[in-house]
Symmetry: C2
Subunit: 406 residues, 2 copies
């Protein structure tokens, strides 16, 4: 008789954003006349930029003609895209990353959840708390996290690095030595960042203890301050300890188009085994490439027109971020984030729990956010709002919240 993967059964509840979706749908069904504004899931709302639309149409045309039809993509991505990434995201910033160290994929969520697979099950992970749920959940599914404590909402074999107001939402080096360290800056959910000097400390630490940093830089396009690194490879020594994951979702609005990439420098090794080879083997065996037309759209992100249009798009969302941040501050909320990231992290009022505040906002002003506790125990008492709505909706949501009698 077959058996299921018992690790799946250890997962408490459903995936955070599925739960939010269900709650909102239920409220909406019961109150069809209410206009709900969604600042919960970090999904973009602006249409794809004209340069991207043009590239997509062009690539679709190619697929309709025998002489320019494209079948299976190269395992690791088309060279035109890998070259554009290496050139623009890395070489232009002085980072020594070659095109063949870049693995194109259908998005950072897949990469973030699949990357743990090339590591041993005995490896111990360290995560920020609060944190994007995928890092921990994918390790739970693999059986790497030990026993769940439902009261503390923590796993026995995970090293949690609390990010609280006390440390300005940036983690300290862990006391117990981890093997894999998940870091995400600019951070989801808190919007916090680290300076280049702070990130260098992490790189030095990882090299010292023989850990790998899994660096999620999905939000780098939102960085506005000078000393905030866009890539971990801006730090010396990162080539021997860091894997970086990037997305086209937030900088170019590809949440519904699906494109991302992972960088694994060839020097990153365990003994003689290069992680680059293992990930290449995984791609070759379990993946069949991102669609040609989407990779062409990705190339357009780096064109002159694409860059100009996307700069505007990011500015649009960051204008929303400022409006949320300033508005809530004026209304007496304690807020952070929103300067180098499209997320605003706020303290719930009146000692409400995160989910109490979620229900309260949904029911009283019909605004959807994300409960901080959904990202980990240190997120309790916090709440995330995203800047990815339309400007009109963002203004209306903030004005509704400002009108609350708190």
């Amino acid at each position: 008789m077959f058996q299921v993967n018992e690790n799946y059964l250890k997962l408490p509840g459903s995936y955070l954003f599925s739960t939010i979706g269900k709650k909102v749908n239920a409220y909406s069904a019961a109150n069809p006349d209410k206009k709900i504004i969604r600042l919960g899931i970090g999904d973009v709302t602006q249409p794809l930029a004209p340069a991207i639309i043009e590239a997509l149409h062009g690539a679709v045309e190619e697929m309709g003609r025998a002489e320019s039809f494209h079948g299976y993509a190269p395992d690791l991505g088309y060279e035109f895209l890998r070259n554009a990434i290496a050139e623009n995201d890395y070489k232009a910033r002085g980072c020594d990353i070659a095109a063949d160290e870049i693995f194109v994929s259908d998005g950072a969520k897949c990469d973030c959840s699949n990357i743990q697979e090339i590591f041993g099950l005995e490896n111990k992970i360290a995560v920020c708390d609060p944190v994007y749920p995928v890092y921990v959940d994918s390790n739970v599914m693999a059986g790497r996290t030990g026993v769940y404590d439902p009261k503390a909402e923590t796993w026995s074999d995970v090293i949690y690095m609390p990010c609280t107001a006390d440390n300005r939402f940036t983690p300290e080096l862990p006391k117990e030595t981890p093997d894999l360290i998940y870091l995400c800056f600019p951070n989801n959910p808190t919007g916090a960042t680290v300076t280049r000097a702070q990130l260098q400390e992490w790189v030095d630490y990882a090299n010292k203890v023989g850990a790998v940093i899994l660096y999620d830089a999905a939000y780098e396009a939102y960085i506005s301050e000078e000393d905030v690194p866009h890539s971990i490879y801006e730090c010396e020594g990162a080539r021997t300890c860091a894997i970086e994951m990037r997305s086209f979702s937030k900088n170019a609005g590809f949440t519904g188009l699906r494109l991302g990439f992972t960088v694994i420098p060839k020097e990153l090794k365990c003994g003689d085994t290069a992680l680059h080879s293992l990930w290449a083997r995984r791609h070759g065996t379990k993946y069949n490439g991102a669609p040609y037309i989407v990779q062409k759209a990705g190339e357009a992100v780096y064109s002159e027109a694409g860059r100009a249009q996307l700069k505007e798009q990011v500015a649009y969302y960051m204008n929303n971020a400022s409006y949320i941040k300033d508005g809530l501050k004026a209304a007496g909320f304690t807020v952070s984030g929103g300067v180098n990231a499209p997320y605003i992290w706020l303290k719930t009022p009146d000692k409400m729990t995160s989910w109490e505040f979620f229900d309260y906002l949904l029911e009283t002003v019909n605004v959807v956010g994300t409960p901080g506790s959904g990202f980990g125990p240190s997120g309790e008492g916090y709440f995330r709002l995203t800047a990815f709505g339309s400007y009109e909706n963002t203004v209306e949501a903030v004005d509704r919240i400002k009108g609350l009698q708190l």
Copy 2:
């Protein structure tokens, strides 16, 4: 110090098609004047049908306007596509499959390799021999296959079901009881099929011993004979023992567009645990949906125009299959397949090994095929040719092979 997943290191050599690609590239670089005809990898060559191109352009337009922009897709796929699949692929054939039992993905290769993840590591797999390498390799990576015997080219914990000329390339029920049974019909690589009555035996067997059949029906569009089932759900009792995986790659030329789906009936359970829930959880946590524009293209596959155009496309490839089959037969080769599948399976001449014949064909007539031994030990002495080339190339390749002094 971090450790790698040791299971990866057990994999012998590289992924079959990567090896072929490297060999062909090396030959091509050394002989730039030779015109190589590739009938190796099962990649399509005909352009996307007009109905699909039209749907793609339309969906791209939608993505360029705020009011019709689509961000993250629903976890399990858009309803318009799941409904079209349920209606056309299942209900129209009398199969009782609901839209919410269908999980849309970016292709059958990902689904085939990821599906093992929801099962326990102690489960024992059974595979046909020869077989599509992904089934075994993905289980090796998970640590489910025991020790590799390099001489026999088999794994200690895998049940191999030889498919040879003696049993007309269809497996017999295994002597040792498996937990997971991979079946693919019409078969890759042999092109063999089973009748509905034969498949019913497998379903009855799986239900009796408590095994799950992982049924890969990627080639169902090529079925020409009446009593060959298109879906395992044409068999009674399949809802309690079978998962079916399908692709848009071969019936609609989506190898470069990426779309597939997996069906898990809600009755398929281990105790109280529905496999449907586990796979839904995996999708929710580790996947972010197939692109909207590609799902719209998938919908067009089921439109009246799409169906008519794709029927022609399949007929085009099957005309190639006949040409290969008849031509090689006339030249004295022993061949099978090519009637309900786009693959021709031939016995190598003069007792050559599969790789010897590969090199011989590549070097003497510049035709690329796939060595049968790459699919498993019982594939030794066999060779696969695909019907997915252009008609002109197919004719030229066959004529070149016919001209060999064998």
